[in-house]
Amino acid sequence: MIFQDIIFYFFSTVLIASALGVITVRNPVYSALLLVLAFVTCAGLWLLLEAEFLAITLVLVYVGAVMVLFLFVVMMLDINLDKLREGFWKWFPLGGLVALVMVVEIAMIMFGQYFSLEDMPAPEPKAADYSNTKELGRLLYTEYVYAFELAAVLLLVAMIAAIALTLRHREDKKSLDIAKQVSVKKEDRLRVVSMQANKKN
């Protein structure tokens, strides 16, 4: 048990520190990288909770794909930090209020008497051959199949919207016809000319 506690506190410390770093460091690239660190440590915490499918998927989806694109964009943009910081004190009261509400909400859940957490004891640790992935799959494709399909449709809508927003029809657009390129024969490009040999005078 003590070993798990050590791991828990280690991951929690790193998670909180890196999450703080995300919003405090000046360099946006460092900020994105600290967010990656926060995701990875969060996956570690989820592993401690025996949620191995969620933990690995978090790394796979957020660290492996989403943050790569994020980093890609952040590196390409020329971000002016002074401009970003301009409205800080103006918006501070609103931001502070939102943060306060969130802290109070979390405290109400954590210090259980209003939400009767004691009725929900911690689940028993599962056996080693228990497959979290299989159970999740079974639930997703049977009981929650409509919610699952709805989420998928939502993503599809977002994807199509992104394409529709950026797609512009241009008159002078040059595009490649791959089939044409592939089917090119030697005769189309190359002409062998037979010439009379010239005599040097």
Binding site: V59, G64, L71
Partner: protein
Amino acid sequence: MESIGQLFEQIFGAEWGPMLFTLSTNVTFIFAIVVPLLLGVAYLTFAERKIIAYMQHRVGPNRVTFFGISWLRGWGQPIADAVKALMKEIVIPTGANKFLFVLAPILTIMPALAAWAVVPFSAELVLADINAGLLYILAMTSMGVYGVIIAGWASNSKYAFLGAMRSAAQVVSYELAMGFALVCVLMMSQSLNLGDIVNGQQGESWASFMHWFWIPLFPMFLVYFISGVAETNRAPFDVAEGESEIVAGFHVDYSGMAFTVFFLAEYANMILVATLTAILFLGGWLPPLDIAPLNMIPGFIWLLFKIGFLLFFFLWFRATFPRYRYDQIMRLGWKVFIPITIIWIVVLGVVMQLPESLRNSFPLNLWF
């Protein structure tokens, strides 16, 4: 083994003894994987130079002998190369971000080695026999691209940055096709555990190579292997390095050991992709024919043989194909591979849902 465990308990007490014992056995196992792997990497570079040389009618490295044994000409070359790299200075460019510049090669080699934790070498020989092994490998290989992006950005050089951009887009695209190909494997084997996947390829008849997943999933086998080549940034998909266009791409500013670490990671990733293809599609440690002399050979040897066979293809590709144009790479990934994989998932799903009697009436059906 057990007596050593008892010794640990006597020395460190009942509480810490077993824990330290597990720790020390795991560390030993890690060394037993990583040291041969790095040796394999060293000699893979040698094999690459030799094989490509013979394909181009050259001799290849033949100067450095192996501890003075004259008929092993060239076999000392990887060791000489390693010593040379260790002696060279690591130059950090003035405009570079020093911290990230040093961090990048470490971030490249870490996932390349960490993914080996769940790879089964034979029916019993595996470091971490976890349920979600396939997902773990996907997660680890998808992290490899960070090293490339960070190296490109931290070098503060145009060529390096162009290489990083190319690599980021390419790796993210091919990961999708790779993931979909693995979904098919997952559907066939009904498990994410790599050991179970290999066991699912075991058949009853003597022609066991017919039972491996490469036949029912043949398009996926090709898609996975080609995506693997693209994922490791190897020729003909090596636009991230592209010597003739952007000098050396993301590692143009790296020298000495820092460069060598990138190099090691690339070759370790090649061996990883070859190993995974062998495990997922070519039956892992299973012998190709289940008859007397062949099934006496230990499974580990068969796995090594299959890995070597697939690695040869990596080298062969490099000697044969010219580099892809960048838009063609993107087209192949998005417009060819992803549709193929999605169609194959649907076909496979339909076949698996057919009634039992109909499935059994297929001629030559060995897999469903």
